[in-house]
Amino acid sequence: MDPALTDEEERFMKWLEEGDVTGHHAGDAPDLPAEWHKLRHNVDSLRDLLRANIPSAQEPPGSASFNDEVRQKLD
């Protein structure tokens, strides 16, 4: 089980999510730690790396018979 996040780590995670949802980060907040931009860059780099190398969609082996097999199991 992971340790609970500190208040600062939780704020950072919420800031990241805000950027993902709205498409921009609140970069002008006066209390924004400078390190957050660097950390966000690392998160973006990791995401780019994973998306370039892990498929989000892939047909299963025997995809032609897949749906029929499901229908037979439902009968």
């Binding site: 995670m13 690392n42 780099s45 190398n53 969609a57």
Partner: protein, 171 residues
């Protein structure tokens, strides 16, 4: 079913790393979804609801496999990197580029293998599927606080594991 089949199969394969089991689980997901469709209230997005079924099935399968293979060779590991990358778009590459890309995919695959099932699920749902914290919490049946914590530590672990293979992942 045809619309969601490639996403559900890919996600299942990424999670449990075993082609035959992933195919079985993808089929079982659609069977359970069909039987439970009356209970889908439309509060969550359909894929999130579907994924919740997949996640529960993967979790059960993972527990069963761990129980079966305690002290034995675990054949759910070691899925070839090209099995995961089979459907990725490919540009024309020189042989040495193709080799380094294959090696990189193998390293990423190995790194994902080293994550706990909980970390693997949140990383894949966030970074590959692009779900929000709330949608992930819905899909894996936990709180948003737990999603943030798992994601925070999963990213840190992956960055540590992949730093050598991908130098742009800085400290």
């Amino acid at each position: 079913m045809t619309r969601y089949r490639p996403r559900i199969y890919a996600m299942t394969l990424n999670l449990i790393r075993h082609e035959a089991d992933a195919r079985d689980i993808a089929q079982e997901t659609f069977i359970r979804a069909w039987r439970a469709i009356g209970g889908f209230e439309g509060k969550a997005c359909f894929f999130t609801w579907l994924y919740r079924i997949t996640h529960n099935l993967c979790y059960d399968r993972h527990r069963a496999r761990r129980f079966e293979s305690e002290g034995e060779f675990d054949d759910s590991r070691g899925l070839p990197a090209n099995a995961l990358a089979a459907n990725l778009p490919r540009a024309t590459e020189r042989p040495d580029d193709a080799m380094s890309r294959t090696e990189l995919r193998k390293k990423i695959s190995d790194a994902i293998d080293q994550l706990s099932p909980e970390h693997r699920a949140v990383i894949l749902l966030k970074e590959i599927e692009g779900l929000s914290y709330g949608e992930i919490a819905e899909a894996v049946s936990c709180t948003i606080g737990t999603v943030m914590s798992r994601l925070f530590y999963a990213r840190r672990r992956l960055q540590d594991l992949l730093r050598e293979a991908a130098p742009n992942l800085k400290n």
